[in-house]
């Protein structure tokens, strides 16, 4: 027999969520705008390489540094590559960096934090010490050090961003786990025979997720800015991969000579993406926890 009883309940929950979302968006049109932007970014990330007019890696030195025109909407860069194609294709990499960093730090920081909050005692102390040690570092220099030591690959940039944000996530997760330690559903899970780790991973962590989602949105923006900063120092992704940060860092050198489009368009894309993630974070905060509305 079909689960008739379950469906209306699930439907009701879904409708409530949608209605709540609509309410929040109506209250705050900016959040709605951010949502739309987010969807556009995801679309660009998925479809990007297939819809761009030029190959982002093909150079054509006879067409170097041409200003925006009908042929090249965003102009060409110093090696004759089409800036528009590169900006769109870069969306995928930057989005990946953002999402991967956030996923990694959620897992690392989230698990460590909930473990610390749940078990207390030594776990709490160790995680606390690690978090304090990381926080005592000047964070950007720590990220630089990690990438310089391990090599400037995308994985290392993601790892560096995750490590640098670890303390924040650990702290939030710990606070939430502390609150939920004695909650009813945890007791129920324990009584059903779940081991502590299963409880952590499948009961508490998912409950912590909505609270963290706000921070995660902000971290997505931070991850992209971090990658851009590293590129400026020379520790960014390897050429010729298109990535907004490195395009801005390289393009900045051409501003004084008047080829503004080289840095402007990737900079604009970067700004729009980070802007969107930040606004989304604010909006999500309103949606998820009205008590914390700012």
């Amino acid at each position: 027999m079909t689960d008739i009883a379950a469906t209306p309940r699930r439907d009701a929950a879904l409708t409530a969520l949608v209605r709540h979302a609509r309410y929040v968006i109506a209250e705050n049109p900016v959040t709605g705008f951010a949502f739309v932007l987010f969807v556009l970014i995801v679309l660009a990330a998925i479809l990007g390489p297939d819809i761009v007019p030029y190959n982002p890696l093909t150079s054509d030195t006879t067409q170097a540094l041409k200003p925006p025109s009908a042929h090249h909407w965003f102009g060409t860069d110093q090696l004759g590559r089409d800036v528009f194609s590169r900006v769109i294709v870069a969306t995928r990499l930057d989005f990946f960096i953002a999402v991967a960093s956030v996923a990694l730090v959620f897992l690392m920081g989230g698990l460590a934090g909930v473990a610390a909050g749940f078990f207390g005692g030594w776990t709490d102390r160790v995680v606390g010490r690690i978090a304090d040690t990381i926080m005592a570092f000047p964070l950007f220099v720590l990220a630089m050090g990690i990438v310089a030591a391990l090599g400037n690959t995308v994985q290392n940039i993601v790892l560096a961003t995750a490590i640098v944000n670890f303390p924040l996530y650990a702290r939030i997760a710990r606070a939430e786990a502390n609150v939920r330690r004695e909650a009813g559903f945890v007791e129920a899970a324990r009584l059903s025979g779940n081991s502590d780790w299963r409880i952590l991973a499948f009961q508490i962590l998912p409950n912590v997720f909505p609270i963290m989602v706000v921070q995660m949105s902000l971290t997505m923006g931070y991850a992209i800015l971090n990658a851009a900063g590293l590129s400026f120092i020379g520790l960014g992704v390897r050429p010729p991969t298109p990535e907004w940060g490195i395009m801005v860092a390289e393009g900045a050198a051409f501003m004084v000579s008047g080829e503004w489009w080289n840095a402007f368009f990737p900079g604009l894309a970067l700004m729009v993406a980070v802007f969107c993630f930040n606004l989304l974070g604010d909006g999500l905060r309103d949606m998820v926890d009205p008590r914390r509305r700012t």
């Binding site: 900016v30 010490r129 304090d132 005592a136 570092f137 400026f232 900045a252 900079g267 980070v274 604010d282």
Partner: protein, 337 residues
Amino acid sequence: MLTMILKRAAMAIPSLIGVVIVTFLLTRALPGDPAAYFAGPAATPQAIQEVRVKLGLDKPLIEQFGRYVVDLGHGNFGNSLTTGQPVLTELRTRLPASAELTLLGLLVSILIAVPLGIIAATRPNSLIDHACRLITTLGVSLPVFFTGLILVYVFYYLLGWAPAPLGRLDVFFDPPPQVTGFYLIDSLIARQPEVFMASLKQLILPALTLGIFSLAPIARMTRASMLAVLSSDFVRTARASGLSSYTVIVTYAFRNAMLPVITTLGMVFSFLLGANVLVEKVFAWPGIGSYAVEALLASDFAPVQGFVLTMAVMYVALNLIIDVLYGLIDPRVRLEA
């Protein structure tokens, strides 16, 4: 109070030890061989090995670490390879440069963000509120070096309003006699008003760059805090008693709302001190940030280690000061502690 300070300091020691160990390991993991660098462009492998022995880099890591810690105890932070100077001397000259810039940036940020936050809080969800949020978020959505470069391009190159991005002082001024290392303060102490004006002019663009970048957290926290306070009982009483809007907001609400904002300021300050790095590169600022970055890229251990340790100590001290300030401002906190 004193016991609290001592207890806090003691709790911070394991973090500092952790920082020293991690930095040591991290710098040793950097690619690049200082011995090859020192030995020069034409060195044979034997020559490089000789230099390595001379620098003590052939000893096992534990021994090198032990040596490092002993040196630290004597206040010897080692020498920089790239500049050839003792790290401690360089840190001492460069730290005030970064601190002056960061403090001024923070000041600029406060001057803009706090009023914005207050205005936004007094008219929640209005157009002004949204505009404030948009403006401040925009500031933090651009990479800080890009903001700096755009400011230089517009205000120096195109308009000529700002002075040349040549560092802390124009070529024709000598720095004031060192008292604090802050040119603004030292030039006033030494009664050199033209040096004061020259330093101030050089500070404007980089401070603005840093300030723009830190608008968002301060404005957001001010707004949140003010909102919370404005809905509290005593404010309602004040309004009901007929006090003017200005008095209510500034004299009563603002002072009480400042507490969380101060914590945020502390966090922002320590974040800026680390993020200084990029701004210093753009403006040729002789601060510790640019020092550390050049050293890191040249695999020059000693400055990186010295820089990180200094920053960590400052961070701990800063947190301590904020906790003490908290206690001073809000007696409730003191009593509870």
